[in-house]
């Protein structure tokens, strides 16, 4: 019998376990950021079952590590029954500067869209959270590092405008490396555009909550992320203007432990509180009930 099988094997069959083409064959854009496996390994080395992780709000149960998640997951966590109406879902970036670095900006956009299934680095939506209307704008880090260009600025401004017109509280979940260099000064001016809209919201007395998640850096901290009626965060999130590597290289100094962690930022007076992700929905709505002087809703998140 054994001899028989040996005879049947030919060159083509061999290729199934013999490498015929050298090097890594997967294109960079086809690689996944988070491997969709059965297990997740947190930075401290704790291994957790992927389904358990999802049930635990994407927080590693053993060490409390808050895994980076995107708008899909945040909407699921914060909107009742994951029901919401997305706003301006089809706004996409143009390439007004014909920007080219190692790649063309248009190619980068296309690749990011293909990889993430997202149109750009923020999604905005309105829905019920603990029974009351809430507008949420949530950034997606997986889309070009959550960078803010014209589309991000415009969508945030329009979402804030929706909140203004409908007298609905506004929650903005920041998760960004900063401004989008490929849109240069157009990107910079989104800081002013979004801040102006938040000023209108403030004048109208509509609560604005800024949730700074890992990472909230660069232009986001220099605008909407630090302008909340309350600024809140998740444990361990990186929050800062210049990233730790830049600060270290510029100053030539070793950075203190926990530099720019949410805990560090709280201690220095820029956050109102840090909450575990599982309590986030309840705490956001508790704040809204208190500040709007309305009856406390049931404490079920």
């Amino acid at each position: 019998m054994i001899k028989n099988i040996e005879i049947q094997l030919n060159e083509e069959d061999m290729a199934w376990f013999k490498r015929t083409k050298k090097g890594i064959q997967t294109a960079t854009e086809d690689k996944k950021d988070v491997p969709k496996g059965l297990w997740y390994k947190s930075p401290t080395g704790k291994v957790v079952d992927a389904e358990e992780l999802e049930r635990n709000y994407y927080v590693s149960p053993e060490d409390g590590y808050h895994v980076r998640i995107g708008s899909k997951e945040y909407f699921e966590i914060l909107f009742d029954d994951n029901k919401f109406k997305e706003l301006d879902a089809n706004l996409t970036s143009k390439d007004p500067l014909k920007f080219v670095d190692k790649k063309k900006y248009t190619d980068r956009l296309e690749a990011a869209q293909k990889k993430t299934g997202l149109k750009d680095a923020v999604r905005t939506a309105v829905g019920k959270s603990m029974g009351n209307d809430l507008v949420i704008a949530c950034m997606d880090f997986s889309f070009i590092g959550g960078s803010m260009g014209s589309v991000v600025g415009e969508k945030i401004a329009r979402a804030a405008d929706y909140a203004l017109k409908n007298n609905t509280p506004f929650l903005l979940i920041s998760k960004s490396g900063g401004a989008r260099m490929m849109e240069a000064a157009l990107s910079l001016m989104q800081l002013a555009k979004t801040s102006a809209k938040l000023a209108q919201l403030a004048d109208a007395g509509i609560p604005y909550i800024s949730l700074c998640t890992d990472p909230t850096t660069g232009g986001t901290t220099a605008s909407f992320a630090m302008l909340g009626d309350i600024n809140i965060s998740e444990p361990g999130a990186l929050i800062g203007f210049a990233g730790p590597r830049v600060v270290k290289d510029t100053t030539g100094k070793d950075l203190p432990d926990g530099f720019q962690s949410a805990e560090f930022v709280l201690e220095h007076g820029f956050l109102d509180f840090i909450s575990h992700r599982k309590d986030m929905k309840r705490k956001i709505n508790l704040y809204l009930d208190l500040v709007l002087n309305q009856p406390l809703r049931e404490k079920t998140a």
């Binding site: 403030a202 007395g205 609560p207 630090m226 009626d229 309350i230 600024n231 709280l266 201690e267 220095h268 007076g269 820029f270 956050l271 109102d272 509180f273 705490k283 508790l286 704040y287 009930d289 208190l290 500040v291 709007l292 002087n293 009856p295 406390l296 404490k299």
Partner: protein
């Protein structure tokens, strides 16, 4: 239970009473009469002592180690509804100044207040209830936020003073307190101030300008602590009792001078003797005062608040 020097007769009787009761439980001897006698004597002694407290004794009570602090009041009054908020948005989160939103009944309030610690470690952590400029700026930020959303403000005062440190001066301790005082005179929502312990000077007034200023019975409020006053005017720390008398710093004296609006009764033996009762009394007082303010227009509210402060001061001619 800790006793102050003038409370020692109470301590003795309390111990006698406990001993007698213990004998009654352990043996067949009937001690119920003795117990009752001691109990009556204890209650008479308490009444006698607490009815005739000197100003200095009240100062001592205001600093009693078992006295409830700001967060004790807030947690008891608001329960689960309290949401603590942090930070001055500029430099630091000052642990000597706490604040946040909470409900009394159906009404939301913004609470701010100095916080003291209850043991060596937490006393240091809270800097003995002495706020830095960032503490006053945090308080102002919360009050402005309350104004924005039309939420009334409650200030709970318990401080031996604003922190007199080098860095506090560098960051503008004076400016921070001044800014608070100015902004509080014209804040467009009701402000109810309650002195729950020590009310030392600018450190207290920095969160102390209000439509209604209430003092608990055994607290003090003045321009300086009796010890510091003694040290400056008598050139010795020994004259604190005289200084306490001279400063007219008790609730009764402050009310007489029309510098505060209302005295809140404490349980016999002081706020710590029956904490729950103290919390309820304070919560009720806040609600009652708010009821008299809530229907005033922002304009009338600010005008009458300013008018109140314009009338403070005594002069001839």
């Amino acid at each position: 239970m800790e006793y102050l020097d003038f409370e020692l007769p109470i301590k003795e009787l309390q111990e006698q009473y406990e001993k007698a009761c213990a004998i009654g439980e352990e043996s067949d001897v009937d001690v119920s009469n003795t117990c009752k006698q001691i109990e009556k004597k204890l209650s008479d002694t308490k009444k006698d002592i607490y009815k005739n407290l000197t100003p200095w004794q009240r100062v001592q009570l205001s600093r009693h180690p078992n006295r409830p602090y700001t967060m004790d009041y807030i947690n008891a009054i608001c329960g689960d509804s309290f949401l603590e908020l942090h930070g001055d948005r500029g430099f630091k989160d000052d642990k000597a100044m706490v604040g946040g939103l909470g409900k009394i009944g159906d009404q939301s309030y913004m609470f701010v207040g100095q916080q003291k610690g209850y043991n060596t470690k937490t006393r240091q952590y809270r800097n003995f209830g002495m706020a830095n400029p960032e503490g006053y700026r945090k308080a102002l930020r919360l009050m402005k936020s309350a104004e924005k959303f039309n939420v009334p403000v409650v200030c709970l005062i318990d401080t031996p003073g604003a922190f007199p440190g080098i860095e506090a001066e560098e960051r503008g301790q004076g400016e921070a307190i001044a800014r608070n005082i100015l902004e509080m005179t014209r804040l467009k929502v009701p402000i109810i101030v309650v002195i729950i312990g020590e009310g030392a000077s600018g450190g207290a007034l920095g969160i102390g300008v209000g439509d209604r200023v209430l003092m608990l019975e055994n607290t003090w409020y003045s321009v300086i602590s009796p010890e510091s006053c003694s040290s400056i005017l008598w050139r010795s720390w020994e004259f604190k009792e005289q200084a306490a008398d001279a400063l007219k710093l008790t609730a009764t004296d402050m009310k007489k001078q029309k510098l505060i609006d209302l005295i809140v009764k404490e349980p016999i033996g002081g706020a710590h003797a029956n904490r729950e009762k103290t919390f309820t009394t304070v919560a009720t007082a806040i609600e009652k005062e708010y009821a008299t303010l809530k229907d005033l227009s922002p304009k009338d509210l600010v005008e009458s608040r300013m008018e109140k402060y314009f009338n403070m001061g005594v002069y001839k001619g």
